[in-house]
């Protein structure tokens, strides 16, 4: 057997040629080994395409596993904290999974593609954990990250764009629904999902169809304001939607060294995903105990006064800053809400929705640094949740 050298440089997704054509900035970074754009023209313009027309994001580097076999449902239901028996074929579930201590390993979306056939899509790689969890069950797990090309098509005119492209029946697709269509002779899966908090869809197909799919999509989008986007715009949008990110808002439990740095789903505001009524799932005992005795941390959504983004800021219980209770994990100015928003982690029992906290923001103006203690209100709902996101069928604009 001859030795085969693995690729030494950054990988290219099947959409790379099209992204490169549109790119004017030459600002790229690496995401799970793939080269991906920070932005292609201008992060602001791309962000506003999400909120105003149609933005297209290449999410191929997302980790994707195919889970099949007679025990697939039993397996997944034991893996994640939410009741997967309720997720029928053609539906998608946001889910979280834990180690035995009830600490979050990762969150992701699980697509029930067909009876007994699932796709798990996550930020991080979990093959070892998934394989180990399968021992004793008749289930097969395949890493299909490189075998599926995927695009997020997001924004108020995304429905109009995809309808113009010729996807029939899209009008009936509800949020978190998925459908298989035969498109121009190839198989395409369309799900009404996304990471922007807006009306939006994701398209999934084999890599060899990628360029053709892209071309159809952009031809259809010519008059609906289509724009390709990079990760900068997505980052802003996902904070507005209140979505958390691994390695930013929490750490994957299996990859931390220091005690106390992990978070349970209850500590990430994901208690609605933890179902104690269903059969046993991994981490259940620990989570039940935590529910009984109380959590240590709480994820908070903060609406902060003023306009200085609170990146990396400490959070205090009082204006004088005597009691440090946590820190901001994600922060941005929200262009649609005109709010200074952040996600943070604070010690329980502080930070209940509606309560007032203080955020210490350092900012630099013409070399000099200043500091401000800004009042912040803990809010319950996502900062951005437009009506169109839930409408079926969606409006055309």
């Amino acid at each position: 057997m001859s030795a085969r050298e693995v690729p030494q440089g950054r990988l290219r997704t099947p959409f790379y040629s099209r992204l490169a054509e549109l790119d004017t900035l030459n600002a790229w970074h690496t995401w799970k080994g793939y080269t991906v754009p920070d932005a292609l023209y201008c992060a602001d313009t791309e962000y506003f395409a999400i909120r105003n027309s149609t933005a297209v994001f290449d999410l191929t580097p997302m980790t994707k596993y195919r889970i099949t076999g007679p025990d697939a449902l039993v397996y997944i239901d034991r893996l994640v904290t939410r009741d997967m028996s309720k997720i029928r074929p053609g539906r998608v579930a946001y889910a979280v999974w834990c180690n035995d201590q009830g600490q979050t390993i990762d969150d992701g979306t699980i697509f029930h593609l067909r009876e007994g056939e699932y796709r798990l899509c996550s930020q991080e790689r979990h093959c070892a954990w998934l394989m180990d969890s399968a021992i004793g069950l008749d289930v097969s797990i395949t890493d299909e990250t490189a075998d599926v090309a995927a695009l997020a098509v997001q924004g108020p005119t995304s429905f109009a764009t995809l309808s113009r492209m010729g996807i029939d029946g899209l009008g009936e697709l509800k949020p978190f629904g998925l459908m298989h269509v035969d498109f121009d002779g190839f198989e395409l899966m369309v799900s009404r999902t996304g990471f922007t908090g807006d009306l939006g869809y994701e398209l999934w197909t084999a890599p060899e169809n990628a360029v053709s799919l892209w071309d159809y999509l952009f031809a259809a989008g010519e008059i609906t304001g289509i724009r390709a986007m990079g990760t900068d715009a997505l980052e802003q949008a996902r904070i507005e939607a209140g979505y958390i990110m691994a390695y930013i808002d929490f750490l994957p439990a299996n990859a931390t060294m220091r005690t106390g740095r992990t978070r349970s789903p209850l500590e990430l505001g994901l208690d609605w995903l933890v179902d104690f009524k269903k059969p046993n799932f991994n981490g259940r005992r620990a989570l039940a105990e935590e529910k009984r005795s109380g959590s240590t941390w709480r994820l908070v959504k903060l609406d902060i006064e003023g306009n200085k983004p609170a990146h990396h800021a400490y959070i205090f219980a009082d204006r004088k800053g005597r009691k440090n209770i946590g820190f901001v994990t994600s922060a941005t100015w929200s262009p649609v809400c005109k709010q200074n928003i952040a996600l943070g982690t604070v010690r329980m029992p502080l930070g209940a929705p509606g309560s007032e906290l203080w955020v210490e923001i350092f900012y630099q103006r013409e070399m000099h640094w200043s500091r401000v203690m800004a009042r912040a209100e803990v809010v319950d709902k996502p900062f951005w949740f437009p009506k169109r996101r839930g409408l079926t069928p969606p409006d055309l604009v």
Partner: protein, 538 residues
């Protein structure tokens, strides 16, 4: 008969802003509007099939983010989308672009002059220094320099401190800046004619002044001091047209329990025993209220809508002398497709920008000469945008809406009223100038709306159709706006307030006059303040 806590006259964005903050404080407020639609000059109307026109104001930057946030305007449908830079087409077939990306902008200026490219850095910091002085005062009531009330003294001290902050040697610069012409100011930095011409437009938009008129350097600031999401000086489109601004503020107002009445034009502000008591409508109805707030311009308020005997002599004269001059018009066009501009390379980001078609300082000044002679500019300064390049809601897919702001255009032609053929000829002037740079433009035109200052006055009610409710010259700014001694939103009649753009800090769809007026009213009524503080620039 019911007596409201307050009646606000005029449902433009400022009237609605005052009304919203008063209603938010728990007052029983009614806002009356003469038209059968709201918005005043921040309005969207369907005049041709499925095209939505921003009939008057057309871009959004000055709207204070503090107000946006306090009234939660995003919940009421307002979304402001920024757009790229600006573009000036040149007679020689070239173009000059002002790009959003600073390095690209540098390269573009250097294409004309390396010196100008470098000079921009200093120009920017000098101009922004002036901007910082004024930006902090937008969301506050101007102090009265003749008063010894602690609040006024404090206010004056704050202004003084702001001036001292700029540095001793720079105070001279500041005084010069506030009195200079935009042409002189630009001459101090730049050598390239087209670069200066492109920048000078911001010094004259909405004013009856030319680029060589003293005081126009300040007007430049008025167009630089806005921001979209912290990008100071950048502009955006309101999704759905500028009516979305008024619509969202009205939504907030109604969510606080406010009442909106359209087709309720005010004939007279009712004054009894020296107190404003309500309004008499054109249809003969009366609306009684403990206070009356006028969002109309200061001339219309005091000269047209009040009994002569209710207004003191000196004040009346000063209002008569207040300068509100019609100087700009609009042409709103429904297009069958996107016009092409062959001078600009395909795919260039400035295809989404505001476009201009006048490339020299000489042409800018000549445009003003026509206005002085009592007619519209035969080679006008046009500020042209196509909002549908980013906003999918204003025209059917693939179709477009174009907004042209035209300077100069007088209220009367050589002292007499406009005739229809003259309005057409005005529109032709604009269309021809654009068509010089876009060969397919004319055949794409499906419908257009001509708006001379006289039309704007007729439909919106602003005296002479002046977009700022009065010139933005030093004699009419800060504590002199609209009338010395009456800059704190209170009229010389008890219970009567002013909240339109004739008051500080002036026009431009800022909503700051409306918010500042509400703050003063709530203070007088000893109600808790609902009006936000300035974010502060530090």
């Amino acid at each position: 008969m019911k007596t409201y806590d307050a009646v606000v006259v005029g449902a433009g964005h400022n009237g609605l802003t005052t009304a919203a903050f008063l209603a938010k404080a728990g007052l029983d407020v009614v806002c009356v509007e003469k038209n059968d639609y709201i918005g005043g000059a921040a309005v969207s109307r369907k005049l041709h099939e499925d095209w939505i026109y921003s009939n008057c104001s057309y871009v959004c930057s000055l709207l204070r983010p503090e107000i946006f946030r306090a009234l939660e305007l995003h919940r009421h449908g307002l979304q402001v989308t920024p757009f790229g830079g600006s573009l000036t087409f040149m007679e020689n077939g070239d173009y000059y672009g002002s790009y959003h990306d600073p390095e690209v902008a540098y390269r573009e200026r250097a294409r004309f002059s390396r010196r100008d490219a470098d000079a921009y850095e200093r120009y920017r910091s000098d101009t922004m220094r002036q901007c910082r002085i004024i930006r902090d005062f937008l969301l506050s009531t101007p102090p009265d320099p003749t008063s010894f009330r602690p609040k006024d003294l404090l206010g004056l001290m704050q202004i003084g401190r702001k001036f001292l902050e700029v540095g001793e040697d720079r105070i001279y610069e500041t005084i010069r800046f506030w009195t200079m012409s935009v042409a002189e100011y630009l001459d101090e930095y730049f050598e390239t004619d087209v670069i200066k011409a492109a920048m000078s437009g911001s010094g004259i938009i909405g004013t009856a002044l030319g680029i060589h008129s003293p005081g126009t350097a300040y007007v430049l600031l008025h167009h630089y001091m806005g921001d979209v999401d912290g990008n100071v000086g950048s502009w955006g489109f309101a999704r759905g047209g500028m009516g979305a601004v008024s619509g969202a503020i009205a939504g907030a107002f109604q969510s606080y329990g406010g009442e909106l009445r359209t087709e309720a034009g005010v004939d007279k502000i009712i004054v009894r025993n020296g107190n404003a008591r309500g309004v008499g409508l054109e249809n003969g109805d009366e609306i009684l209220a403990n206070i009356v707030v006028s969002a109309m311009d200061v001339k219309r308020t005091f000269l047209n809508c009040m009994d002569r005997s209710d207004v003191d002599e000196d004040f009346y004269t000063r209002v008569e002398n207040f300068k509100i001059r019609g100087s700009s018009g609009k042409l709103n066009i429904a297009l069958d497709g996107l016009p092409t501009f062959p001078a600009l390379p395909e795919g260039n980001s400035l295809h989404i920008s505001d476009m201009h078609f006048i490339d020299s300082m000489e042409r800018m000044e000549r445009a003003y000469d026509d206005w002085k002679a009592g007619t519209w500019s035969k080679d006008p300064y046009i500020d042209m945008v196509i909002p549908t390049t980013v906003d999918p809601t204003m025209a059917p897919p693939g179709k477009h809406f174009m907004s042209c702001f035209i300077q100069y255009c007088p209220h009367k032609l050589e002292g007499r009223d406009w005739t229809d053929p003259e309005r057409e000829a005005f529109a032709r002037t604009v269309i021809d100038q654009i068509a010089n740079y876009s060969p397919d433009f004319k055949k794409l035109i499906l419908h257009y709306e001509v708006r001379t200052p006289a039309d704007i006055e007729e439909q919106i009610g602003i005296t002479e159709g002046n977009i700022f409710h009065g010139e933005l010259t030093m004699d009419q700014l800060l504590f002199n706006r609209p009338v010395p001694g009456y800059a704190q939103y209170r009229a010389p009649v008890a219970g009567l307030y002013m909240c339109g753009s004739s008051t500080h800090p002036g026009g431009g769809v800022m909503a700051a006059p409306g918010a500042n007026a509400a703050r003063e009213i709530l203070a007088d009524l000893k109600r808790p303040n609902t009006v936000p503080e300035n974010f502060g620039d530090d």
